[in-house]
Every structure is written in structure tokens, then in C-alpha cells.
């Protein structure tokens, strides 16, 4: 019997009330302290919902305007550039323009006002063992930024992982999730070693894993979550404790059949020679209306039960 674990990660869509309140904050009608309180309350409610599903999960990130933004605007050496299309979607992010990677300008675990984004903290405090702190993988972060040509991927990654590690330490988190937006192009994954050696880490990947060099890694990931391409799961199973697969569509409102997803997950686990498998979405859920995200979440709950 295959153990199926569910995972929800990244920016979760806001409900209309919170969206309107953030709009009021942008127009100066609502104070920063007040919007932070509102966001925090909404996050707590959503986290309670996530907990009730039995899934592993990250913070819903209602105060992140895009998956890089808090780091783009609050890190020494990085500034927000023009709006840029996020992959092939109709959603845009501020292009991080990176000169160097310094320290964060604020303590991200406390209330702080930052440029072009609702106030921090980054995450709610959370000691639940099913909770994972969300970070954009430095590899995609680098590739999706305009970077000083003298700054190498290795130096950038080292700087970002140092920031992520400090955040993990400040919050006292044990688990993290690194989210890869772009496919690999031959990167040496050992650049992530300093982080995965310290924290139980899920790596959510994009594209074909044969283009990532995982062999020099010193430790296994908690999970490598992959797209359903040939051999991906086998590679994920070799380098992580529990392989994962991105089966649920975050870019379509059609609700999948939980029985069909379960069957596919079981077959995938068997193919990878693993007794357990994570099932998750093919992207974070912010590309969907809130009402549909909730239905997809409930569907995933049925899959794992």
C-alpha cells in the first residue's frame, strides 16, 4: 500500500475581502500596522485550514507581491526592476536587479515596512512538524533576475542561502521548501548543500531532472518533487527520502478526479520503487481564483485520505 502525502506550497490566492483591504492600504486609507494585522489574521485562518487537511504546507504568503519580492526589496544589493512576465503566464513580477547579495535590511521575522510590498513579517511563527518555510530556489532566482555579470551563480546562491539560513534560525524552523520556477540547464546542485545539510528540505523542481547534476550532493533531500517526465521520479527517489510528483493543475479551474490522481500517484511511486510519494500542484495556487483553490485543496485532501 503506497503512502500518499499531500503538499501545498507558495503564494495562495487571497479572498476578495483581503484583496480589497490591501487596495485600501495601497491608497493610504488603511495604515501599515492595520494591514499587517489583517494579513496575519487571514494567514492564521488559512494555516488552520491547511493543518486540518493533513497536508504538508507552507505559509500562504498573502503579503508577498511575488515569490521574490520581499528579498528583492529588502536585501542590500538587490532592487526591484520593471514588471516582467512570470514564465509564460499572464502574471508579472518585479525583475530583481542584483548588484550583489548583502544582508537583509530588516529583521524579516518582525513587523517591518518595506518598499513596494505589504509589511513583513515574512512568515507566521509555526512549530507544526508539517510546516515548511517557503523560499524561491536561488538557482531560479538567479536566472529570473538581471544580475551583475561579475556575480556568479555560486556567489549569488551562497548569499541567498545565508539569508535563508538566518531566517530559519531566527524563526526556529526545522523544515524548508525551495521552489524552482525554471528547468535546470546543467547546474551543479551541490551549491544547495550548505542548506540541505542543515535543514530538512523539500525541493520542488521544474522540467527534466537529467539536466541537474545531483551527484555531488552530500545529503538527500527530504523530497524532490518533479514534473511527470521520463525518469524524473527515479532520479528524485535516488536523491530524496520521498519522491514527489506535480499532478494537479494550478493553471486550470477544472477540478481533477481524486481517484484518478490517487491511481496515478500510486503507479508513479511503484515505478520509482518508493513506498511513499508526495502529490502536489504543478505551480503555486495564486494563478487561480480563491474559490477554485479551495476546491483543489479539498480534492487533494481526498487523494491523501
Amino acid at each position: 500500500m503506497t503512502e500518499i502525502k499531500g503538499l501545498i506550497y507558495g503564494i495562495y490566492p487571497k479572498n476578495d475581502e483581503l484583496r480589497i483591504k490591501i487596495g485600501r492600504w495601497e491608497r493610504g486609507v488603511l495604515k501599515s500596522r492595520d494591514i499587517e494585522r489583517e494579513i496575519s489574521q487571514e494567514k492564521e485562518e488559512k494555516i488552520s485550514l491547511f493543518k486540518s487537511t493533513g497536508l504538508d504546507y507552507t505559509d500562504p504568503l498573502f503579503n508577498w507581491f511575488d515569490i521574490f519580492r520581499p528579498f528583492t526589496t529588502a536585501t542590500h544589493g538587490i532592487v526591484p526592476g520593471p514588471l516582467t512576465r512570470y514564465r509564460e503566464t499572464n502574471t508579472f513580477y518585479r525583475l530583481p536587479e542584483v548588484d550583489h547579495v548583502g544582508k537583509m535590511k530588516v529583521n524579516p521575522s518582525e513587523y517591518s515596512e518595506i518598499e513596494a510590498n505589504p509589511p513583513l513579517p515574512l512568515f507566521q511563527k509555526n512549530s507544526d512538524p508539517n510546516y515548511f518555510a517557503f523560499f524561491p530556489s536561488p538557482i531560479s532566482f538567479f536566472k529570473m533576475s538581471k544580475v551583475n555579470p561579475e556575480l556568479s551563480l555560486e556567489t549569488f546562491t551562497s548569499g541567498m542561502l545565508s539569508i535563508y539560513s538566518d531566517i530559519m534560525k531566527t524563526y526556529g524552523f526545522k523544515n524548508a521548501l525551495l521552489f524552482e520556477s525554471l528547468p535546470y540547464q546543467g547546474e551543479d546542485m551541490s551549491v544547495l548543500s550548505p542548506f540541505i545539510n542543515r535543514f530538512k528540505t523539500i525541493l520542488v523542481t521544474e522540467g527534466n531532472l537529467k539536466f541537474a547534476d545531483l551527484t555531488p550532493l552530500e545529503n538527500r533531500f527530504c523530497s524532490i518533487v518533479v514534473t511527470p517526465e521520463d525518469m524524473n521520479l527515479e532520479i528524485a527517489a535516488k536523491h530524496s527520502s520521498v519522491p514527489g510528483i506535480r499532478l494537479i493543475d494550478s493553471h486550470n479551474t477544472r477540478i481533477e478526479d481524486p481517484a484518478a490522481i490517487r491511481k496515478e500517484a500510486e503507479e508513479s511511486a511503484k515505478k520509482a520503487g518508493s513506498g511513499s510519494i508526495y502529490v502536489t500542484f504543478n505551480d503555486y495556487l495564486d494563478f487561480l481564483p480563491d474559490s477554485i483553490a479551495t476546491k483543489k485543496l479539498n480534492m487533494l485532501k481526498e487523494v491523501i485520505n
Binding site: 490566492p13 484583496r19 490591501i22 507581491f65 512576465r85 502574471t91 479551474t253 481564483p289 480563491d290
Partner: protein
Amino acid sequence: MTERKFITQEIGSFRKPDYLSKRFHQIQGTAEFVSLAEKATLETLDLFDQAALMNVGVGGEMFRWEMYEHLANSLEGIEFYGLVRSFDNKYYRKGSVVSELKRKSSFHGDELGFVMNHTEKRIKVPITGPYTMMDWSFNEAYRSREDLAMAYADLINNEIRDLKKIWENRSGGETLEIQIDEPAATTHPSEMDIVVDSVNRSVEGIQDTEFSIHVCYSKDYRLLYDRIPDLKLHGFNLEYANRDTLIPGVSDEARTGYEDIAYFSEINEEQYPRKFLGLGVTDVHINEVESVQLIKDRIEYAMAFIENPTNVRINPDCGLRTRSREIGFQKLKNMVEARNQIYGEY
């Protein structure tokens, strides 16, 4: 009306007056809405007259809230489940196609009928294109993205045929101008065949009509230029000013936004007849009103590649709804003035 050199044109939208925008959704579908949309259209046509714009589009699209939702609301088969984020805290309504698409009513018939009865100037009807409609919809009902794009194309083709019937009442024998708006056209490089096939299906079998396409903010216009020979269109109205500098002059360093017009011309040289290029010369995303001289520099730079001024039209990058009516007007005015100053040189 017979002027062919450097025709100045609008791209589509212009900022709505507050009396319309603030109540748009509350009164949409009522007689009051029609009355206010008509009033706003007349005021906008008047502004365009003051700016001496040659082609007035449909008077700034006062009947439409925005390009996706307006068309989607005129169709059966689309459900709206809620808002989806575009960026920051900006959201749009993205429809889900849940069953076979059918037209409930004409998308733009009322608007065209009204505008053509209130101006003698050239008119161009922008219609959101099939590829963009597909790309901006969730697809729950059609087998593939291609099938959905082609379904939209069939509906747009029917719409254009209806607009042609309305246009027959226009005296003067002018050609109906249709602009297919395809901002999504180059966002999925692997789907350029779908773009071409669906745009061509939209215009298939329709005679005596001038067809252009509007694309903006593409990461790579070359994807589009490469398909010029395949697209059954007369012209391309494109955004360039946004990617240009504000430095005056006609050097390559100053006119970085226009450098790939050389490639457009290279492809276009093989076409007979040549396609026209609607040259975006004013940025709709900045409040700075580009000087007449800067706009002249932009046109002159492009003319080094295009040469024949009947193959060039002068327009803003995109719809001016992004700017206040005052700034939009100033941008159009400077654009026309630049065109007039340069006119005699070609």
C-alpha cells in the same frame, strides 16, 4: 480621407471620464449606461478632433470595460469564478470556458453603429484576438489550446461579418478597418502556429476589409516578424516607445527601442503588397509627454528602414487608458504635430 502617408491613429482604449468609469459595472446593460457611454464617446471623439488625429478608432472604447471581459461577457460557455492576480494587488477576471462557446450578442456592433454616425474620420475597430482570448481563459471544455483558439476565431469571424453589415450603412465607400488585438501573441514561442492559424481563421473569407494586428510588450517581436508571410493581414500596429530611451536623436544608442524594425523591413521586403507598420511613438506607461522632437526622431529612425511613408502609421504604443485624459490628449497632440512636421520630408 484618401491620405495614405503617415496616417495617425489611436490604438484602442482611452481613459474613461469618471462619470462613466465609477458607475460602469453598476449600470452596465441599462439605458443609462448606453447614454453615458455615448456621451463619453462623443467627448473623446471631440478630443481626438482637437488633437487632429486622423483615425479615431471607436472613440476610445467607452463601451468596453477592458479587452478580455467585454468579449467574454458577450459569449455563452464562459463562467467567472473570481479574480486572478495580474501583479502586485492588481487583479482581473479570468473566465473559465466550461462548454461550447457561442455568441450571445454582437461584441461591438452598438459601438461601431454609434461611432460611424458621429464622425467622418477613419474608424478602426479593435477586437481582442482569438489567441489572446484563449490564453487568458481557463480551458475546461476544449480538447486543446489550439481547439479553443480556433473556436474563438470562428466567433470573431462571425462578429466581423456582422460589423461589415453595419458598415454597409456608412456612406463614402471607405474600407472597414479591423484591428485584431493580440497582446499574448508571442508569450508562448512554441505556439506561434496557433497564433497564425487562429488569426487567419478570424479573417477568413472576409473581403474588402483592412486587417491589422496589434501586439505589445513582446519579449521578442522576431517571433511575430518571422510569421509576417503567413499572416493574412495588411498591417502590424506595434509598441516600441516603451522599450526606447528618452534621449533625443536618431543614433542607434538613442533609438534602442526601434532597432528591430530593420528585421521587420527585411521580412517585409519580400511581401507584395508590403505590410504597413503602425509605429508606437509614445509610451502609455509614463506620464512624461514625449516632445515633438523626440517623436520625430523616432519616426525618422524607423524611416531609414521602411522608406515608403505610405507603409507607416503613427500611433501610441497601446491604448491610452493607462494615462489621464489630459496626458493622453497631450501625447496624441504631440504625436500629430511631429507627424505634420515630418510629413513634407517624405
